[in-house]
């Protein structure tokens, strides 16, 4: 059973890597984002607020860098 939060973090990890491979973000930012997401993933309890959850779902198909950075911010700070 995969929780929605788990799937979102998985998506953010993939997106982070893809952004780096497309040279949209620098290596430092890639490392920073990766460690942040892994940190959240290692905490087994991770619940998103609905608004932020919907935001992160929406950026799935969007490769805009600003939206991705906002998504990373959401992952970083929105921990209930």
């Amino acid at each position: 059973m995969k929780t929605p939060e788990y799937l979102l973090l998985q998506k953010m990890l993939n997106k982070n890597r893809r952004m780096y491979q497309q040279n949209k973000i620098e290596f430092e930012e890639y490392i920073e984002n990766h460690s942040l997401i892994m940190d959240k993933l290692n905490k087994s309890i991770f619940k998103m607020e609905t608004v932020d959850f919907n935001y992160l779902v929406a950026i799935d198909t969007d490769d805009c860098l600003e939206k991705f950075r906002k998504g990373i911010n959401i992952v970083q700070f929105n921990l209930n």
């Binding site: 995969k2 979102l8 490392i31 892994m38």
Partner: protein, 178 residues
Amino acid sequence: MFRQGNKIKQSKSAYIGSVLLIVSAFLPSLDVLSKWLIPGMNEARDSRGVLMTVNIWLATLYLSPVILIIATYFRPNPKLYFFPLCMFLYAGAVYFSPIIGKEVNYLQLNSWLFFVISVFSALCFMYTLRYVRMLTLVETSESDFHEDVKEKFDMLTAENDRLKNKIRSLENKLDENS
């Protein structure tokens, strides 16, 4: 309505799948239900002398996994896998209860402890699976990350060597000129 993957799932197929999952979970209880609802079912036998309830129980037991497999194709709510898991654990525990020397009957009050243990075991099973999935993701993403870091470091080392060679060649040129 529930979340499946990253999307909010509200389709007919998901509902059908969820219903099928619950049906597959409770189908092997049909013989007990028939005992409760149909008078005289306890004693009814078929032409071979086998109890009708046993026939029903065996038939539903074989049918239930088929329905379960069909349900998976409808992409049901994954949380509902709890029900078949729990009921099958419970049925298995009750069936093998004579080993511990106690008389325990299916869906009777004397099997409440077995039921509690089954619920607990099913929950443990699901949480363990969730944890294993998380571990797998962590391992996969870490290995991907290590690959990327190695690639970057190789690139930086190559660039460093190239720059060193350039400096060396410039120094040689300067020496020649002087």
